[in-house]
Point group: C5
Chain length 253, copies 5
């Protein structure tokens, strides 16, 4: 569970709402047609911008910003020290029975290839291809959300221009100018809120998460390659630790 | 057929039109001169920006955003497992008769070079050059559309400034200011609609498509090189699977 | 001759002029001081931005956007097939008499180095350095034009702010506000026209041209290296073809 | 202590305050709700944008822009010349007793690995991984501050639009328009001040600091590798000097 | 002496001044508080953005945009042909007495290393490190100027918003609105002038100069490495010429 996403949205929208309600009633900020043109137009342009399954997939991607479940780096270092010791003492085949207990697909696959006796070079190729296409898929997810976040204010601006044109064409009654222009500005407001409080920050969170996951994958790859090359457990620990900030490092006595 | 492009355009323009018609008649948003200056000026600047055949080619490029026909990755993996098995059992020359049945130019060319006995190194060079120039051509197509999408709002802004200057010069009658300014804003609106609902998203779709096609080509290259090196069919499957998201992978029992 | 540049400028400016003249007389859009501040200020800032000979060179660079004369890729492939066949049959020295007939400096230099018997490695180094510095010079040309295209609207904005300050300081007579502001907006208009219809698209055309020329140079380098390595003419054709879109490829029967 | 950060903030805010107070009383620029919406909204969107511990960590990151303590490059060169001489004369093991006196974790780790007799290749791998992830962590810190600096003006704009809508809806009393709009503009002002005078420049300082620290790390790595390869002390000095601007170089006679 | 910088500033500011003086007296454009807030605020934010010595160093960096003194490429080619001939005829040690006459630190250092008999590989490493850190220092200088050029318009905008708020709060007397707003706009004007006519173009010039200097350094490195490898003088000339545009090349008969 990623509490930050929830707290952040509640906090920022709460402040916006209370800012509105200290100055006027909330009702003058509600306009269903404005919401429709911003949200619908953004989705429409999004469907032109990306294959349809990407846009449908956005719902899942957005859900991801509320949840998260990655192994801790410390756990990974511990595990690899353990594997390396075992492989040194009892031979690499002794890891075979442990493989099926591993939850993580990536680690399981890498160790299986190691136990199967593939060359470290070949294992590295396969694991790196997997990381680079994982990075690609993550980047695509964040890009879609971020593209929608660029389209929303554009739709807001389009809605406001439409409102302005209508107001200017019928400017016979000066007293109606104010409220008409207020309504025209609502699409701009909606576009800005959706983009700056929801979509753009969510794209940011997806990128930050992707970096963390890729770092873990790189640590796992480094560990697997070290085992496959039969390296010293102490060297493995040293290598994996260098991926972490000094304060998170594991020092084995 | 890429339904998304069609649905997206119908959806976003439908919403814009209904937003307009709930507030006023549609007629006040129609201005042929405004449309001419935005569309014509964009094409004119486009002709300065790119060689003429690129701009003429844009029509074909835009048509591409409505259609699409790529092999599925699963099909490609299946096919290469089949080829690899055959090559292992009966020798690489046994692939020769299959080559002429292949639809895809790229795969046919790569396999032909393999059967002809070229070094994997040389095959890789040729296939990579082809991918990198395919990527280049795709990028050019998307860039042209995206450049036009940058020019359209600029033309819209120019049209609006022209209208403002004319209105300000003849501001004798205050009651005419509103409608004159409304008309001046129409070019801004047209520029924003053409850019944000059509051209920019289409450039996005072209880029997304290009990525998919290049991924397929890279899988095909990987498969061909594996065959040409005589690699184990299981390794080939493993390698090709790593290009795909876990849920799309093919697991052969 | 690059007709596109000419047609594009005539088309876009023609549309702007007719848009103006359908609404008012052209004369209210003419302001020599406004033109001076935009053009002169842009040149002045350009002289600070780049060494003086770059800015003087811009005239030649702009002229280049109207003219163009590159060999066709097909011609180059034909020529290299011919050279490769000859080199195979009669030895590489048989190319010596052909070299002095070659117009293109780059191809002549490359072939001369080949005939002189330099290592392919050394030839590649020299030819790649030449391409990379050609790309550098092209990029500089396009960058200067594009930097001027960024300065022009900034000068336009500065001119408009100056006009606004003067208008606001002397706002005693309300009826003079309109025309004064109209004049103030002219520098914005000039800056936008010069940037969006001339300079920016020209920078774009220079980049597109540079890409084409570099592609040709890379094909020539590939061909020369293949000859210097004594490769099979069919392989050379295959390699050079991979630089081209499928429909432009030469298929020798 | 980085005096620049302190002086800079005092200087720029001092000028803004005196500019305000020469024109009016300060009190009309104070609005607690406006401050709340800008600061709170920025933090809220930041919590969506980054994992919560990053946002909490921002406080520490900002504190870093006021303090700084890096070894001088000259000190490092001196030290490595000393180590290299000692290693040459008495063997690499003679460095062992010096290691525990080293403050800097990175240098201590690198020398320990050298004394332990690891291959230069392996030492380089470990030290480079450490540098690249240090760079990554620094970049993340600067990115968070810079993302908040992008959100603040967006929140300011949203607050102003809200104020405008409220003002336009209740435009019955023309004399209240001015003050209402003045208040609406305050969120824009707060957003601009927070972004341009605090957050953006702080992100800049973090990047400049990161570059300096990474340069030092690279010098240390170069020195350690040279010692591990048993290179001549004069060469080491020459190599390390090339990292510095000519005037800061150490010339040993 | 770089006349372009001087001419450019005189030209652009001259045009701005004459544009002002044809429309009003110059005095209404003078506002010391506005100048203070833009210049002082920019320096203040700059001190937060960069270590203090960078900001102090800006004065020297800006001075550099008025002066320039680089060897011509032709001179460098001539010199290396001479060295190469001498080294071929009389051995590489015959260059020793020439070294102390060389003005350029970089060339002197490189040749000294060559005469000292270091491996070409080691020489290349040292010379490349030096180039890459020279490029880094140049980039930092240009970045500081360019960052100040981004801050200046932001300060201008802040000043204008402050002026607007004060004007709107005290809008009792309509006739004072114009002049008050005119004064508010002056900070925007100052920010735009300082950024677009001075700082941004100067950052551009620093980048253009840096490219030229690095190109020369790369030519010198190429020449030194060729001599250290004992290459043929004709090859050296060929290699160095490929760094230059065709028309500047030296053709030795």
């Amino acid at each position: 569970m990623d509490l930050g996403t929830l707290i952040g949205i509640v906090l920022s929208f709460g402040l916006v709402l209370s800012a509105i309600m200290t100055g006027s009633s909330l009702i003058i900020f509600v306009s269903v047609p404005s919401l429709l043109i911003v949200v619908g137009g953004t989705i429409g342009a999004g469907l032109v911008n990306y294959p349809m399954n990407y846009i449908i997939g956005v719902i899942g991607v957005i859900k991801n910003t509320f949840f998260s479940s990655l192994d801790s780096p410390a756990e990974i270092i511990d595990r690899f020290k353990d594997y390396a010791n075992r492989a040194r003492r009892e031979g690499i085949l002794s890891l075979e029975p442990l493989i099926k207990e591993i939850d993580d697909d990536y680690m399981r696959k890498g160790l299986q290839l190691t136990v199967d006796g593939l060359e470290p070079q070949t294992i590295q190729e396969i694991l790196e291809t997997e990381i680079s296409y994982l990075a690609e898929r993550h980047a695509t997810g964040a890009d879609v959300v971020s593209a929608l976040g660029t389209l929303a204010p554009a739709m807001g601006m389009i809605g406001t221009v439409i409102g302005l044109v209508q107001m200017l064409q019928t400017m016979s009654d000066p007293s109606s100018i104010g409220p008409a222009m207020a309504v025209a500005l609502l699409t701009t407001l909606y576009g800005a809120l959706i983009a700056n409080l929801i979509l753009m920050p969510m794209a940011g969170k997806l990128k930050a998460r992707s970096k963390e996951e890729i770092l873990l994958r790189e640590m796992i790859m480094e560990g697997i390659l070290s085992i496959s090359k039969g390296e010293n457990p102490r060297i493995i620990e040293e290598k994996l630790n260098s991926y972490l900030p000094p304060k998170d490092r594991i020092v084995s006595e």
